[in-house]
């Protein structure tokens, strides 16, 4: 199992968090932790998602990137547990 931290920039839409969580679960990633806040000035949300999986993180990054309201996905660290 590897753990990863993703930083995801999104348009501030109600459902965006639900979409990210759904994709994360469906693609086989477990969630270690989550942090989400919105910059009300820019209407851009920042979601920090800590996940773990046997699968390569690119699989999840590519799928999250396909969601319509996503601006950017970054993998911040890459630690084995």
């Amino acid at each position: 199992m590897k753990s990863y931290q993703l930083t995801i920039k999104v348009d501030d839409k109600q459902v965006v968090l639900e979409r990210i969580l759904q994709v994360t679960r469906y693609r086989g990633f477990l969630i270690n932790g989550i942090n989400a806040e919105v910059n009300t000035g820019t209407n851009i949300g920042t979601i920090e998602l800590m996940v773990r999986s046997e699968r390569p993180i690119e699989l999840l990054v590519d799928q999250i990137n396909k969601l319509i309201d996503i601006k950017e996905v970054k993998v911040d660290n890459n630690t084995t547990t």
């Binding site: 459902v15 639900e18 979409r19 590519d62 799928q63 990137n65 396909k66 969601l67 319509i68 996503i70």
Partner: protein, 554 residues
């Protein structure tokens, strides 16, 4: 602004649809979508009342696949909306551009477990490409434009727009010229053309593995030009059938679980596999780590997420096939390999000899394929009859073969034929169905009757859930659990009740005349073809087995 006028959300919906070229929609009314149906009453858009929302969703899918346009379906809230879900899932799995409009209870009632309230927006997350719920009528124009753009953009797919009843009724002043195109948000990495050319030049035994993406990208001409220049042997997925010219001497047919022996062996032996708009589905690869074991891989796709998803690739060519295929079209010197492939194609050609008097479904489907008019569009249901149609009928365009690939949804064939016939009123539309699948959306015979759609239905009747029965016989010790359908209704009488001309045949010597009668008939027609319940689909690659270890008989 010019053209500015006051209208309700409901009438705006149809005006925006018209801006996107929508002429036909499929649906079913109910309480929470009544203002939209009221607006429809004044609209020039033609509505086709299906007899189940699943039928409406599949009609929209069939319409989209047969025409290349966006298919549109409408349903009310609650059960109407949930009835659409199977169709949306099917459209997602096969990347079909569909816009589904659902009514919702009024915003003031939302979240109160109101009558016919279901969170279809939440339900849509797993079965659409994207979805919207409109809570302010001023957002409606932008949302609808986006819905059409997203359905068609990049890898196509279904989009759902949930519209509460008060939003349908609310007035809005809006200019119809206001038409914003969504930009492709996913930046594609540059195509790896250099390494792909190097791989091509080195290859001695390359195979082109053609998927449904070629048709979706409208790149049939570019694909055929690529094949002309390279003379590369090719194979096709179920959804790719029709992309390669079926008369191409180096074309080996479908690969995968029920693929031809030549196609599967060639792929297993190839040293370079060029996947074009294909996604290494498990029904194609068989045992994944033994699939094309000696091959380097070039993968053309529009969806970044398909690269390295199931097979690590050596060169990824992301982007529009119309641009990327010509960039790689270079002559190859692979004469020995071509000869080997052509020899396999000849040695393993289909054998239509079938002892006895009972009808042999592959021969029937081949004869229909030989006799059907040009530009016939065939739809199928799911099961043995589907695989026989894929194996034994020839198509010259993917929009002429509509089958539920990714989802394998029984009940697809009849409503998809309805949609196909609406989009192509002068073309011959043939639905190849099974006795199990037919009953799953049999209510759409009513839609065929109402609109006098001249759909031809070929019902391959083995009085069984044949495909499941085949697996029970092969892999579950012949324990035939719940696959017998010997108490089926009288299908001829059933069709007749919908004023559809129908005939049953049981013997080989009746086949040719019956096919001609069906094809010559002006209106809808059902041909019930009784076959032996024990006939199997061959070849078959057993589960978790390499594709060259196919079974060819019991």
């Amino acid at each position: 602004m010019a053209n500015e006028k006051k209208q309700t959300g409901g009438s705006l919906l149809f005006n925006v649809m018209q801006q996107h070229g929508v002429e036909h929609v499929f649906g079913y009314p109910g309480g929470a979508i009544m203002p939209i149906y009221d607006a429809l009453y004044d609209s020039d858009i033609q509505h086709f009342l299906c007899r189940h929302e699943q039928g409406a969703a599949f009609a929209a899918v069939g319409y989209a696949r047969a025409s290349g346009k966006v298919g549109v379906c409408l349903a009310t809230s609650g059960p109407g909306a949930t009835n659409l879900i199977t169709g949306l899932a099917d459209a997602l799995a096969d990347s079909i551009p569909v816009v589904a409009i659902t009514g919702q209870v009024a915003t003031s009632a939302m979240g109160s477990d109101a009558f016919q309230e279901i969170d279809i927006f939440g339900l849509s997350l797993a079965c659409t490409k994207h979805s919207f719920q409109v809570t302010d009528v001023n957002d409606l124009p932008k949302v609808l434009h986006k819905a059409f753009a997203i359905a068609l953009e990049g890898r196509q797919g279904p989009v759902l727009v949930d519209i509460p009843k008060d939003i349908q009724l609310a007035e809005i002043t809006h200019s119809l010229e206001d038409f914003s195109k969504l930009k492709n948000m996913v930046k594609l990495p540059p195509a790896n053309v250099g390494s792909a050319i190097a791989l091509l030049n080195k290859a001695k035994q390359p195979i082109l593995y053609v998927g449904g993406g070629v048709g979706m990208a409208n790149a049939i001409d570019e694909l055929r030009a690529f094949i002309d220049v390279t003379s590369i042997p090719s194979v096709s997925t179920l959804k790719g059938l029709g992309a390669v010219n079926p008369d191409d001497e180096n074309y080996l047919g479908m690969l995968g679980m029920h693929g031809t022996k030549a196609a599967n062996i060639a792929v297993q032996e190839c040293d370079l596999l060029i996947a074009v708009g294909a996604r290494f589905d498990d029904r194609v690869t068989g045992k994944l780590n033994e699939f094309a074991p000696h091959a380097k891989v070039i993968h053309f796709d529009i969806d970044t997420a398909e690269i390295n998803k199931r097979r690590t690739v050596d060169a990824a060519i992301l982007g529009d096939l119309k641009i990327n295929l010509p960039a790689l079209a270079i002559p190859l010197s692979i004469v020995d390999w071509q000869q080997k492939c052509r020899k396999m194609k000849k040695d393993f050609a289909w054998d239509y000899n079938h002892p006895g008097e009972t009808i042999f479904a592959p021969a029937v489907l081949k004869e229909i394929s030989d006799k059907m008019p040009k530009n016939t569009c065939v739809t199928t249901d799911v099961g043995q009859h589907q695989m026989w149609a894929a194996q034994h009928m020839l198509f010259d365009d993917p929009s002429n073969f509509l089958t539920s690939g990714g989802m394998g949804t029984m009940g697809f064939g009849i409503p998809a034929a309805v949609g196909a016939q609406v989009s192509r009123p002068t073309d011959c539309i043939i639905a190849v169905t099974g006795d199990g699948s037919f009953m799953m959306n049999v209510q759409e015979l009513s839609t065929i009757k109402r609109f006098q759609l001249p759909v031809k239905i070929v019902l391959i009747d083995n009085a069984k859930l044949g495909m499941v029965r085949q697996w029970q016989d092969l892999f579950f010790n012949g324990r035939l659990s719940e696959t017998d359908l010997s108490d089926n209704p009288d299908f001829v009488m059933l069709a007749t009740a919908f004023e559809i001309k129908a005939k049953q045949i049981t013997h080989k010597d009746q086949v040719s005349a019956a096919i001609e009668e069906m094809l010559d008939h002006d209106g809808p027609y059902l041909l019930q073809v009784k076959i032996d319940a024990k006939d199997n689909v061959w070849p078959l690659v057993p589960p978790n087995t390499a594709n060259d270890k196919m079974m060819e008989s019991t």
